[in-house]
């Protein structure tokens, strides 16, 4: 297809060009240039969405170089949904950052953001395993850079930890991919799936890839790098990291798991993943309950939420196609809801910290009176995270519950419900602090209205998702490699 007509190349070229451009032009021009870029991104996403829904999955080879050496891209329903998600959330975070950061900081923020965005889009659209690797690495660099952006000790330490963990993960992934290539002689996802056979090499490769991706996704017990990184970064960065970056490695894991039908051949591994997810839900929730700093609560909440997404793996069982479909839908919906809710929550939390000037929970006293709108935004995001209706989070949990019933794996039901209570506990713990009325009169800073509105918008998005869940679910049900590989 013609490059001009297809939005797929634009989705890669614009961010990359943006990254380069914003590095070069003077400070004052960087923001306007980025705003233009953001809008083109959004437009490209919408066009892609239109094309995919109307004409089916789209394929594109960069500069007409075909695989294996070229960069092959494909956009099925799942990828398109993720493109839309990342465009919306990243634009929101970008606008937030624009209002939040000083000119100096902003100027350095834009290139990193554009790199991040480019690598995300690359991952969503990649059709071969090596492109995924490149995307992952680029993502890591951009993300580490963004974490270190706060340039204080804590964030620096967090970024180093993050870097090491990510590098280890990427390397494991790369090794796995290499082994796969060795065994099957191809890098393309589709060809791999077609010629897949369970030899020892493949098993080692899958183990390596799995390990690497789990580390990068911060699945319990490999999550230790995440809370300091997400909690210590600047607010818009935290939002981006929690909402989007961890999703990238999860997305790859998901594609591997389903497209290569790993679930079918390694059911015990599925249960192990589920157990890790359960551990994440309980441990993450428990740790979130024990934090004294607001952003750390939110960061640990991410650990727990990743657990929910991981719970979809044991529910993808070959025996019951219905249960598998529900689990798949539930997992994706959880991912989407989490992206919006967590971004909204981080931004709202950032606003609160901006008001009080202190990062701890105790100083939130009286905030619900002073910043009701912001607390409301925080609360709405919390509703989705707690899995209370009406919200995307609730619908996702509902689907996972149904899937557990269908496949007869009742133990995940217990985990899901316990997790619900735990997340309610930590969200409302924050709430209780904001309702406290202490006698000391503090001076609060007043955040810009736009900051609050962006946070509210994202949170409302996660709630709204509860009413329009059918739409993303239809989207991922469009024919594509994942749908074909499902039982």
């Amino acid at each position: 297809m013609n490059m001009i007509l297809s939005p797929i190349p634009w989705l890669l070229v614009i961010p990359l060009a943006g990254a380069v451009l914003t590095m070069l032009v003077p400070y004052h021009w960087r923001s306007p240039a980025s705003v233009v870029g953001i809008f083109t991104q959004l437009m490209a996403s919408v066009v892609l969405w239109y094309q995919v829904t109307h004409y089916g999955p789209q394929f594109y080879a960069m500069a007409d170089w075909q695989a294996p050496l070229g960069i092959a891209l494909r956009a099925d329903g799942l990828a398109t949904l993720f493109i839309l998600m990342s465009s919306l959330v990243a634009s929101a975070c970008a606008f937030y950052a624009h209002a939040y950061l000083s000119l100096q900081k902003r100027a350095h923020f834009w290139p990193l953001l554009w790199f991040l965005w480019a690598s995300l889009n690359g991952i969503w659209l990649a059709a071969d395993t090596f492109n995924l690797y490149v995307g992952l690495e680029l993502l890591t660099f951009a993300a580490v850079g963004l974490v270190a952006f706060a340039s204080d000790e804590r964030s620096l330490e967090a970024s180093i930890r993050y870097l090491y963990a990510a590098l280890l993960g990427s390397m494991a992934y790369l090794l796995g991919v290499a082994l796969l290539y060795g065994a099957q002689g191809t890098l393309s996802m589709d060809s791999l799936a077609e010629t897949w056979h369970w030899g020892p090499t493949n098993q080692v490769a899958v183990t390596l890839i799995l390990g690497g991706l789990l580390l990068k996704t911060a699945v319990f017990p490999l999550h230790t790098w995440l809370p300091p990184a997400h909690g210590g970064a600047l607010t818009p960065v935290s939002a981006l990291l929690s909402a989007l970056v961890i999703k990238a490695s999860f997305y790859i894991l998901l594609r591997f798991w389903i497209e290569f039908q790993i679930y079918q051949f390694l059911p015990s591994l599925s249960q192990l993943l589920g157990a890790l997810g359960a551990g994440a839900i309980l441990w993450g929730g428990w740790m979130a309950l024990r934090q004294t700093h607001l952003k750390m609560v939110v960061a640990y909440s991410t650990v727990a939420q990743i657990g929910y997404m991981t719970l979809m793996f044991p529910l993808l069982v070959a025996e019951s196609s219905e249960a598998s479909l529900l689990a798949y839908q539930g997992g994706i919906l959880m991912l989407l809801a989490h992206a919006f809710a967590k971004a909204g929550m981080f931004l709202a939390a950032g606003n609160l910290i901006f008001c009080t000037g202190k990062p701890d929970l105790v100083s939130l006293a009286g905030m619900s009176r002073y910043r009701p709108l912001n607390i409301f935004a925080f609360g709405l995001a919390g509703v989705s995270l707690m899995g209370l209706p009406p919200s995307g989070g609730f619908n996702a949990k509902w689907l996972l519950l149904q899937s557990s019933f269908m496949s007869g794996q009742w133990w995940w039901i217990v985990v899901l419900l316990l997790g619900n209570l735990l997340s309610a506990a930590y969200v409302f713990r924050v709430f209780a602090y904001t309702y406290q009325e202490t006698d000391a009169l503090d001076t609060y800073k007043r955040p810009k209205l736009s900051l609050e509105l962006i946070a509210l918008g994202l949170s409302v998005g996660s709630i709204l998702l509860g009413f329009i869940s059918v739409w993303p679910l239809e989207m991922i049900s469009l024919p594509g490699p994942v749908m074909e590989a499902l039982p």
């Binding site: 050496l69 330490e157 970024s159 870097l163 290499a178 790098w225």
Partner: protein
């Protein structure tokens, strides 16, 4: 024993040593070097695969290794920058042990 296997074994050995170093050491630079060792091991394995054909090397693998090396270099550079900054700030070459996380 063909060359393919030698490459692979060496690669695996390098990876093992690197992995050990990565886990064992606290010094940030050592860990970075350990990471590079893992990387090199991986590339070695891949290059080994490339030799598998009858004297015909697989260009795809070579391209991949090349890209991988570039990426690894970039990663090392980023790591170095961060470590230097850390050293400037804290005067320390290792991260504080954090029991909580």
């Amino acid at each position: 024993m063909d060359t393919n296997l030698i490459f692979t074994l060496c690669g695996v050995g390098l990876c093992g040593i690197g992995f050990f170093g990565f886990i064992y050491h606290r010094h940030l630079l050592r860990r970075l070097i350990a990471f590079n060792l893992i990387g090199n091991g991986t590339f070695l394995i891949m290059v080994g695969f490339a030799q598998r054909g009858q004297g015909v090397t697989d260009h795809v693998i070579q391209a991949l290794v090349l890209t991988g090396i570039v990426v690894a270099v970039a990663a090392t550079a980023l790591g170095l920058v961060l470590i230097r900054r850390w050293f400037q700030l804290k005067g320390s070459t290792q991260l504080p042990e954090d029991d909580a996380s």
